[in-house]
Subunit: 368 residues, 2 copies
């Protein structure tokens, strides 16, 4: 079935494989059958307008039909605004009209937005039906592991959701070839993050292979996604319901989320904001006693894959601090930060003072 | 803490107790503390307009406040129409405004509608927070066991939902004293059903104690709810995710649901429709070889608790048959029925012919 890597996310009864390789969409029919997905019950593919105009949707539909499945597709607008209860309800309507039953499967073909949205439909339709992810972005490697699915509420992101593990993830590297360069780099941010929290060797590898990654070299990308998913899977397997350990996945996210909120979503892409946030966390680490190298290596490897490491000067420090105070991780004057104590190793620090964070934010604006 | 019965629903890590007795609302604060519900995170009570005007809400709010909890309440319109995504979204808004966090608890004070709705909010808010049920109807004894929570879609009832087990159920019998007589009888329908599928002795007990039950005698009611919950808990514990066994809980529901749909909801209460449906299932059983007594006892005990056993003649047989064909249990000309083979024992029959069912429907209109 062609060359590919397979990773199993270990979650007891709910364990599932992630297949990573070129052309996996063309094997979808066979994979579905191998995984016991019944062709007696209709399948619904959920995707967005950007993906739908490419060949991926047509390929996926036709290969599943050839394998004997009844397939319908629902196309939602591209972008975060589709993660709403209104679009969710439309998808349930379409699922009902297409006759989806308890043994049906919903397939998410797209990036994180489509995965989160379609996953929440799968989690709640008839109290939960099967779900398959076919990610088409690098960033989606992150959301394809962990089972978190959700939609937004006007007052809060991802506030309505569930934990719902997919049956499998089909990561077809050929879908990534059409990504815009800025999206590629932003996606690599979470890949590098997985190295920084867990695997120093992989961080060194990212540095050495940065050019190949940015050029979307299939072999390099396959390896990087495999490693990124592996780290996330290891963390999630130990802590499925997000207690302590899972928090380490938030490296760079406290500052990063605040930057996204202040800059406006889409101004600063998620991966870009997290990159700056990780540099901030590394600066913080050094102030708290970590070796200087934690900061220099973090900054270096992120620059190498083309990510910003400097906080745009025009973003107001007060607004950034305010945004952080709305973060769930902020409590009574002290903040919780994921702090790298070495490359590949982080700690959770619950007592970082707000004034120290303000200092870091100012310094990030001076970053060379 | 006063006299009460306790039943534990055995579901491994998610096991929970059902407390049944007079005045349990007044002990809610203490129970919450015993169950490790944190007073650091706000609690939200969800109830409906009918319950809110009674003293139960005030009692529950004040006892929880006295115990140190931060409490807010959300009141939804009474009736099935509140089980919508729109009301669900309003409740999420209120939860956000009240500052509910991951360690918060949502309390459902009311009947099945409030339990289903508030339960789905608890299941999906921040991907799942704690949930406590305080049922105020007899019928809710049924939905308080099993963890099924849901809202409706315009095209289908209960289609959007989850399995979310409560931390505990506080069944305060004093809340039942204000129920209208018709609601009382309709609620007893599911109580008797639990006897008919599982426990012949309890069916005999219902017959002997029918007058005390209809008079809302606290001791009789407490025992009946305890037995009803016990049967459901036994079935659910063996089959949490609704595979085969759980289907037996649908005794009377194939015909019953069709009657509700044709008569119009609220014309025929759920319990009334199920009562007629159970008589139909018993008639069917006898035709399939069960002893005549299955039919006579079923009909007798349902009549004794004041429930209808005859199908209203004005309901069109064709429409009833059509409604049944939309039922999930209908497949290609043959239907699935839960058939009592003896009092206290049922079987699942997947090959009941539609023509035999039509015969039964006609006969149910002639019922003496």
């Amino acid at each position: 079935m062609g060359e590919h890597r397979t990773l199993t996310v270990q979650l007891g009864e709910r364990s599932y494989p992630i297949y990573i390789g070129e052309g996996l969409i063309d094997q979808a029919g066979q994979r579905f059958i191998e995984h016991g997905i019944s062709s007696k019950s209709p399948i619904m593919i959920v995707t967005d307008e950007h993906v739908a105009v490419q060949q991926h949707l047509v390929r996926l539909e036709s290969v599943l039909k050839q394998a004997g499945f009844t397939v319908s597709s629902a196309v939602v607008p591209a972008g975060e605004t589709s993660k709403s209860l209104a679009v969710f309800e439309e998808l349930v309507t379409k699922a009902l009209q297409a006759g989806l039953d308890r043994k049906s499967t919903i397939v998410a073909l797209g990036g994180g937005v489509v995965g989160d949205l379609a996953g929440f439909v799968a989690a709640s339709y008839m109290r939960g039906i099967r779900f398959v992810q076919v990610p088409t972005t690098i960033l989606a490697h992150d959301s394809s592991v962990g089972g978190k699915v959700a939609v937004n509420h006007p007052l809060a992101k991802n506030i309505i959701g569930a934990f719902h593990q997919p049956e499998m993830v089909l990561y077809d590297l050929s879908t990534l070839q059409t990504l815009p360069q800025r999206q590629v780099r932003a996606g690599l941010s979470e890949v590098v993050k997985h190295g920084l929290i867990w695997d120093a060797e992989f961080v060194a590898w990212c540095d050495e292979n940065a050019d190949r990654l940015q050029a979307l070299d299939s072999d390099a990308l396959g390896y990087a996604l495999f490693k990124g998913c592996s780290v996330k899977a290891a963390v999630v397997s130990k802590d499925e319901r997000e207690n302590d350990l899972r928090a380490i996945l938030n490296l760079g996210h406290t500052i990063g989320h605040a930057l996204e909120a202040v800059a406006g979503y889409n101004q600063l892409l998620h991966g870009e904001a997290i990159s700056i946030g990780m540099v901030g966390a590394a600066r913080l680490a050094v102030k708290l006693g970590a070796p200087e190298q934690v900061y220099t290596v973090t900054k270096h490897v992120l620059s190498r894959v083309g990510l910003p490491v400097r906080l745009p000067e025009e973003l107001d420090t007060d607004l950034i601090m305010d945004a952080m105070k709305h973060d769930k991780k902020f409590q009574e004057g002290s903040m919780t930060f994921i702090v790298p104590v070495a490359i590949g190793e982080v700690e959770i620090n619950h007592t970082v003072s707000a004034s120290l964070v303000r200092e870091i934010v100012e310094e990030l604006k001076q970053e060379a």
